[in-house]
């Protein structure tokens, strides 16, 4: 799918700065940002920035990849729970994919995610790396 620049930069607050929504009533943080708390229906909120460390809740190793990532396969993809309880999905990088495990401690780094062939948009965002790396 063609990546239009507006579609890409619209997500910068999430992908570049890890901006999330914290709802007043529940105190719960959601990423990406939402207008309504799905549990309480609350709309009163503040913008918070996500913590940058957490642990792997689940993972897989993508062996057969979509074309944009064909030259990176196999790569690990994980759902991580950050120290504030927020969960998000991203690729694991700078690690031996065979060593990825549930419970592994990771931190977030800013990385290139994908590039369209030749003259297309280059998209950046977050990936997970082992905490000790």
């Amino acid at each position: 799918m063609t990546m239009f620049s507006s579609r890409n930069w619209r997500e910068y607050p999430h992908r570049y700065r890890l901006e999330a929504t914290k709802f007043t009533k529940s105190g719960k943080t959601y990423f990406p940002k939402r207008m309504v708390d799905p549990v309480t229906g609350d709309t009163e909120q503040e913008m918070v920035t996500l913590p940058e460390t957490g642990k792997v809740i689940t993972y897989t190793i993508i062996q057969i990849a979509p074309p944009q990532w064909g030259d990176q396969a196999p790569y690990a993809l994980a759902v991580v729970e950050l120290t504030d309880g927020t969960r998000l999905m991203a690729q694991m990088t700078d690690c031996d994919t065979t060593k990825v495990k549930i419970g592994m401690e990771v931190r977030i780094e800013f990385r290139k995610i994908q590039a369209e062939a030749d003259h297309g948009v280059i998209s950046y965002g977050y990936k997970f790396v082992p905490k000790w790396y």
Binding site: T58, T60, Q68, Q72, L77, M89, Q114, G125
Partner: protein, 386 residues
């Protein structure tokens, strides 16, 4: 609400059907269903299709398909809920007949998946996941179910053996189904040596890319009796949704949308899971059959896998699951799957399943569970033979 039933069913050829286009596949299934039911007209039609726009560049299906069925002008609606689009078409037809708006409604489903490259098909299917927060990061559908599988294994000790048992059993059932795309048996060893797609899921844990269509005629019990054809009642219909992003779910080892859909269908039917004698469920991946069997309440979390290993879900087991071969062996033309599940339940409840595949002791009541994406939606129907 009026009593509603299914009085006739039809299928197109399923598989890599290079000689037939989307409109041909749908017309074949629709005409088969109309002939099978013996109806002389339809009042309206609902067609389920996930993403013909991405697969073949064709939208506006309701008009195109009624025209090619030889019924231009027929009130028709296309419905979409990813891979649960077919189930949603059945539900929509059920509601229209139950409400008294129409008397004879066709529910159909279609997907033409091989008129594009494998990469394009992967992109099209990924439209059912969260584009900005899953697909953007390199997630694939096998990858999402693989992540659910790892949680299930960690929480409940689910094993490779249990996943393999699902594939072996469904291919055994499908080997006796003339409509199946892959009507061959597989051994545990073959499943476990097949190529890894997304750990821990191998290619023989995955349902295939399929061209195909299915249709059922939904009408009132009074009309079905006049037609003099075998019919089954739709006792209950339920639908549920959940966040499509896996990461946003509290428990990734259960499918909440299926739990909600099943509860809704049981409540409407005045039945409970213990009343069901068999089920067609959405085994897009082997782990999905295990998770769905638990999510609809048939087994406690972590207990479906061991029960499957003990043979409970086999054709002659205590609770047969996917007598058709399931998505795994029969094939998975996404929009058609939910309708084809009802076709299978109809054949089983009216004693018309093929030799070797008929569930013993003439079952009377069953359920069909259809699912969208990685569990972002689900539709359940409870069906009973009159």
């Amino acid at each position: 609400m009026r009593e509603v039933c299914v009085v006739g069913v039809g299928m197109s050829k399923w598989g890599e059907v290079w000689r037939q286009s989307l409109r041909c596949l749908h017309t074949e299934a629709a005409l088969n269903a109309i002939k099978n039911a013996g109806v002389d007209h339809l009042d309206s039609m609902y067609v389920g299709c996930m993403t013909s726009g991405l697969f073949v560049g064709q939208e506006h299906l309701a008009s195109l398909l009624t025209d090619y069925m030889g019924m231009p002008g027929l009130p028709a609606t296309r419905v979409e809920s990813a891979c649960a689009s077919g189930g949603l078409a059945v539900r929509s037809a059920f509601i229209e007949v139950a409400s008294g708006i129409s008397d004879i409604v066709m529910a159909s489903g279609v997907e033409k998946m091989t008129d594009c490259s494998g990469d394009e098909a992967t992109d099209a299917l990924a439209a059912a996941a969260d584009q900005e927060y899953e697909v953007f990061h390199g997630a694939t559908f096998p990858g999402l179910y693989a992540m659910m599988a790892h949680v299930h294994m960690a929480q409940y000790g689910t094993t490779r053996d249990m996943l393999s048992a699902v594939a072996v059993k469904n291919h055994n059932n499908g080997s006796m189904n003339p409509d199946a795309q892959y009507p061959f048996k597989v051994t545990k060893e073959r499943v476990e040596s097949s190529v890894m797609v997304a750990n821990p899921l191998r290619i023989l844990d995955c349902s295939p890319i399929t061209d195909g269509a299915a249709a059922v005629i939904v009408t009132t019990v009074d009309i079905a009796k006049k037609l003099g054809k075998p019919y089954i009642k739709i006792l209950g219909s339920g639908i549920g949704t959940d966040t499509i992003q896996l990461a946003q779910r509290d428990d990734m080892a259960t499918i909440k949308a299926a739990t909600i859909a099943a509860a809704g269908a049981f409540k409407m039917a005045g039945k409970k899971i213990g009343d069901m004698q068999f089920a067609e469920v959405h085994d897009c991946f082997t782990i999905a059959e295990i998770m769905v069997a638990e999510s609809i309440g048939k087994y406690k979390p972590g207990k479906a896998g061991p029960a499957f290993l003990a043979g409970e879900s086999a054709l002659d087991g205590a609770f047969p699951i996917n007598s058709s071969g399931g998505l795994k062996s029969k094939g998975h033309p996404v929009g058609a799957t939910g309708v084809a599940q009802v076709v299978e339940v109809y054949k089983q409840l009216t004693g018309q399943a093929e030799k070797g595949r008929q569930i013993p002791n003439s079952p009377k009541i069953a359920m069909a569970q259809n699912m969208g994406g990685s569990g972002g939606s689900s539709v359940v129907h409870i069906l009973e033979v009159a």
